[in-house]
Each structure stands twice: as C-alpha cells, then as structure tokens.
C-alpha cells in the first residue's frame, strides 16, 4: 500500500469513526472564543504549557485503558521520572540529552514492571497498579527527599512561547508531534490492533491467536513511557523535581472519560483525551476569569464532566437504536 493512499484512508477512517473527538474540538473552539471575550490577553500558550504534563499522562492512560487495563500509578511514575530528571540534570547539566533519553527509558521500564506484575499475578490491573502507586511514590521520595534539582534550558525553550502566530503554542506542537510519532505508526501496526482487540474481547483475542500477555505488557510500557514524558514536562515547566505526585492520576482518568475512551476497553483514541485535558483547563481558566471562588469552580468542573459524559452515553444509545 502506498503512503499517500494509506494516509488518506487513515484520515477518512478517523473522521468517520471519531465524531466524538470532532465534537470536542468544536466545544473547545467555542470555549476559546468565549474566553477571549472574557479576557482578550488570554493566549493558547499558557493553557498549552500548563496542560502539557497531564496531556502526556492522559495519552498514556488512554493506551492502557484501551487495552482493557488501567494504570493508577501514573501520577507516581510522573513524580518519579520528574525527580530523576531534575536530580540528574542538576548533577550532569552538560549531559542533558542523554539524561532525557535515559528518563524516557526508565519510564518505559517502570511501565514494563507494572505490566509484567499484572500479567504474572493475574490480580486485577486496578489492584496491582494501586499497589505500585505507593511503590513508585516511595521510590520518588528516595530519589529526592524534598523538592529540588534543576531543569535544563532547552527543555523549557521547546515548550514555552509560540511558533510564529499566537495560535500555535510550542507546547502543543511538542505534544502533537511526540504523541503522533508514537501513536500513528502504532495504530497502524499489528501491536496497535492487538491492543484494541484484547481490550475489546480478551478471551476472543486469545482464541484468535493474539499474544494477549505480550500485548498487555507493551501497553503498560507505553503508558510508562508517556508518564515519563509527563514527568519531563513537569521538570521543564517547574524547573525542579517534586517528589509528591500531583493530581494527575484523576485528571488523566477524567480526560479519557471525557475524550471518548471506553473504561471497559477497546474503544477510543488519544486525540480525544488530549482535547479533553484542554477543555478541562480552559473551563478552569474561564471560571477564574469570571471571579468564581476556587472551591466552587471544582464543583462546576465536576458537574460539566458528568453532563458531557451523560450526553455522550445518550448519543451512543440513540445511534445503536437507529
């Protein structure tokens, strides 16, 4: 199959199958226009840099949920890779590129450990990764007892500001390029299909000859890899390492629910959750600009999520009946 036809059929499939994501993008554009009306100085770059760590987490969480699992340790893995990156960059500032690559490998390795434990123990994913949440959080504290370390200038440079016009923040470009480089080839590979297959019908996939266990481990490894990118993004945006995990686990789950990934597995993509993160972020900004009290604004965010997910479930039901 030639590349152009392949690309065309991919885009066609996406537009046909992923109306949910298209709808989310429309909602986001409307929200952005509304935000501009509230405060004309508001730029996409602030949203993009603030959303970058959790957007990587959402992408990672989406992969493992599509495979039929869930990774509760994703926030801890982000904290762990964040402090490893910050302390290594403080000690070896001249080796920043190898350090960044090493941190990515550590993320993939940590994810592989999660996956192997899930496969070998046969304990439900949610239990194993809950246990690993504590293990990796403890490991982060062992690496760095208090917030500290440092970043490297180029990490900050590639993620701050915009490329030319204001609507193209660097953080968004980095996000889309990195996720695209990993996800698009994966989606078009046997492994990608296997990830959807085991999430859709694990026993059926096994009976069809899919390597269920290897696929599961690979999915967790990819999630760990994306978590490490989230950790690196934290290092870049904060300039230090913080050993206490942020609220990224719950945000990543919220984003995939909003982004059209089925928690039952087998359905959804990565773009939806990423747009979901942006929507959650811009709603937060809007509520602040409108002078909403912070405590009340989290209530509103929760209510909006419930409404969006209910509308989604309603639309899905109607389409089934049609």
């Amino acid at each position: 199959m030639n590349g152009l036809a392949g690309a065309r059929s991919f885009v066609a499939r996406w537009a046909r199958g992923d109306t949910w994501t298209v709808g989310l993008i429309v909602i986001f554009v409307l929200l952005f226009i509304f935000t501009k009306a509230l405060r004309s100085t508001y730029g996409l770059d602030a949203l993009a840099i603030a959303s970058l760590p959790v957007a990587f987490a959402a992408a990672g969480q989406a992969i493992v949920v599509i495979s039929g699992g869930i990774d509760l340790s994703i926030g801890s893995v982000m904290a762990l890779t964040n402090v490893i990156a910050a302390s290594l960059l403080a000690t070896y500032p001249e080796l920043s590129v190898p350090v960044v690559i090493l941190v990515m490998l550590i993320g993939a390795l940590v994810g592989t450990v999660n996956g192997v434990l899930v496969v070998i123990s046969r304990v439900p994913d949610i239990v194993v990764t809950l246990a690993m949440l504590f293990v990796w959080a403890g490991a982060a504290l062992l690496v760095l007892g208090t917030p500290g370390g440092s970043s490297t200038p180029w990490l900050r440079e590639i993620t701050t500001g915009t490329l030319g016009i204001e609507l193209v923040p660097r953080a968004l470009v980095v996000l889309l390029v990195v996720v695209g480089l990993v996800w698009i080839p994966l989606r078009r590979s046997r492994l990608g299909l296997s990830i959807y297959a085991i999430g859709s019908n694990r026993l059926g996939a096994f009976r069809s000859g899919v390597h269920v266990e290897g696929t599961k481990i690979a999915a967790y490894a990819l999630t760990g890899f994306f978590a490490s990118l989230g950790g690196l993004a934290l290092t870049a945006s904060t300039g230090i390492g913080t050993p206490i995990p942020g609220p990224y686990l719950l945000l990543s789950v919220a984003a995939i629910v909003l982004g059209g990934v089925s928690l039952a597995g087998g359905r959804g993509g990565l773009l939806g959750p990423i747009v979901g993160i942006y929507i959650l972020g811009i709603i937060r900004a809007d509520l602040t600009f409108m002078g909403m009290e912070p405590a009340f604004s989290t209530v509103i965010q929760g209510v909006i999520m419930v409404i969006v997910v209910m509308v989604g479930a309603y639309l899905t039901l109607r389409r089934r009946e049609a």
Binding site: R190, L193, A205, F206, G266
Partner: protein, 273 residues
C-alpha cells in the same frame, strides 16, 4: 432464498474410509476431582461431519477445546494426518489447519469485520503497517461466497446482526485454508433464516473437503448435517454411530441414559416419552 451456490449433490453419504485427518486417542482432562473428559477417543475424516452431542457438562466442549488449543489435556495423544502433534495454544492449532467457531463468538466487538477476520494473522505491508486495503478486499471476496448480503465492512461488529456476526466468525475460520473445522453450537444464537444459511454453508464446506466437528444441542441440526454422531455422557463416549443407521429417538436415549441403543430396554425408551 439464500444466494449461496449449491453443491451438485448434498454429499451426506459416508465418505470412503481413508486415514483420518484427526485422531484423538485416550484424551483425559480433569478439573480438580471432576473428570470432564475421561479417556475419550474420536476421529474425523476428510469431507466428513461428525456430530458431537450430549447433555450439559457431558464434556463435548472441553474435548473440542483440547483440539483447538484452548485447553491443554492431562494425557492422551492427538494425530493430525497420522502425525503426532502437541497443541498448547490456539496458535499451534491454527498451524495444523484447525479452526474453531465458538458458541460465544470470539469476536472483538469494537473492531470491524476485516480486522476480526485477520486478527492474530494480520496482513502487513511495507514498514510493518497493517494493510487494511488488502484485508478488506480479501474479506469482501470471502463474504461474496459466504453471505452475499453482507455489506458492512467498516462498522464495528458489535453493530451487526447475529447472522452477520456468525458470517464474520466463519469467514475468519475458513480464510486460512482450514482443514479441520470445529463448530460449537453454530446456530444457537441465530434466527430460522440465518440457521438455514449456516446449514447450507456447512454442507458447502463439507463438499469442499473440510472435516467438521459439529457440537450442537439441536438434534435436528445434527441429524441433518452429520455423517456420524458421537454421543458423550459424563466425560465418556457412549458410542459413535452412523447417522443413517439410527433414529433420533435412539440418539436421544443415548444422550439421556448414557447407553448404546442395543443396551436400552423398551421400558427405558418408553419412559422417555
């Protein structure tokens, strides 16, 4: 009504007794203390349909899981075309030309028909990417033969009807030059028209020379399609009979009483009615 091309004659007569393509000898499987399959021997010839019947828990599905690689037996040997083979998982079974159509369809609901047909054996193009175009056109070609009314090649199979889903399951089984087909309750979830279609298909596959093990609760299915009928009861084979030599009542008696026709007294037979 169906547009499936009919074979010249419905070759339900017994095929010549060549060497069997499948011979399972003295197969045993137990779960804890329960002997699900207890020393069963069964064989299958080219172009033959062997019906496997028995009550719930008789061991027929477990026996077929052994052949399809979903269950590793405790002991016993399996010969394919005379060669002794070991089957540890579904991939091994497929390598020997054994395909299975499960009662609970083993389809990945969120994937489309071509992805399901090729799942586990995907076609890849250059750079290791999936060759969707080739998989779709092969699936279309296959469906032309199996179910010409099947048009929905892009939708997730969750949205298809029971008959269409069964067509996908059968397409997957025969796509890769299967020699031996195991059908576990192939018509259980289907309406009358779809059942007729599947029966027609089984006759056609048989005419193509496949050996088919047919597990069914429906005694009419079994009588209509099988050359021989093996009856299982409590993990053992009660007997294997030529379809032409028995009545449905005799087979029912074997299923319920666990005895061969000549061992059943007329009182016992009368008590069944």
């Amino acid at each position: 009504m169906t547009a499936i091309p009919q074979p010249e004659t419905h070759a339900t007569s017994t095929p010549p007794r060549t060497a069997p393509i499948v011979a399972m000898n003295d197969i045993r499987v137990s779960f804890g203390g329960v002997h699900a399959v207890d020393g069963v021997s069964i064989d299958l010839h080219e172009g033959e349909v062997v019906g496997l019947v028995g009550g719930n828990g008789a061991g027929k599905s477990t026996l077929m899981k052994v052949l399809s690689g979903a269950q590793v037996p405790d002991s016993g040997e399996i010969r394919i075309n005379g060669q002794r083979v070991t089957i540890h998982n579904p991939r091994d079974a497929r390598a020997h030309g054994i395909e299975t159509i499960y009662q609970t369809l083993a389809l990945a609901d969120n994937l489309d028909a071509p992805s399901n047909v090729f799942l586990g054996r995907e076609l890849v193009g250059g750079l290791g990417t999936l060759d969707d175009a080739a998989m779709e056109s092969a699936t279309r070609e296959l469906m032309e033969r199996l179910n010409p009314r099947f048009k929905n090649f892009k939708a997730a199979v969750a949205s298809l009807s029971g008959g269409q889903r069964q067509s996908v399951a059968i397409a997957r089984a025969i796509q890769f030059n299967a020699q031996i087909l195991i059908m576990d309750e192939p018509t259980a979830a289907l309406g009358p028209a779809e059942t007729a279609q599947v029966r027609e298909l089984i006759r056609q596959l048989k005419a193509d020379g496949l050996g088919i093990f047919l597990i069914s609760h429906d005694i009419h299915d079994v009588f209509d399609l099988s050359d021989r009928i093996s009856v299982m009861h409590q993990g053992e084979i009660v007997g294997t009979v030529e379809r032409a030599g028995v009545t449905t009542d005799q087979v029912l008696a074997m299923i319920i009483l666990g005895k061969k026709p000549d061992e059943v007294t007329s009182e016992e037979l009368a008590a069944l009615h």
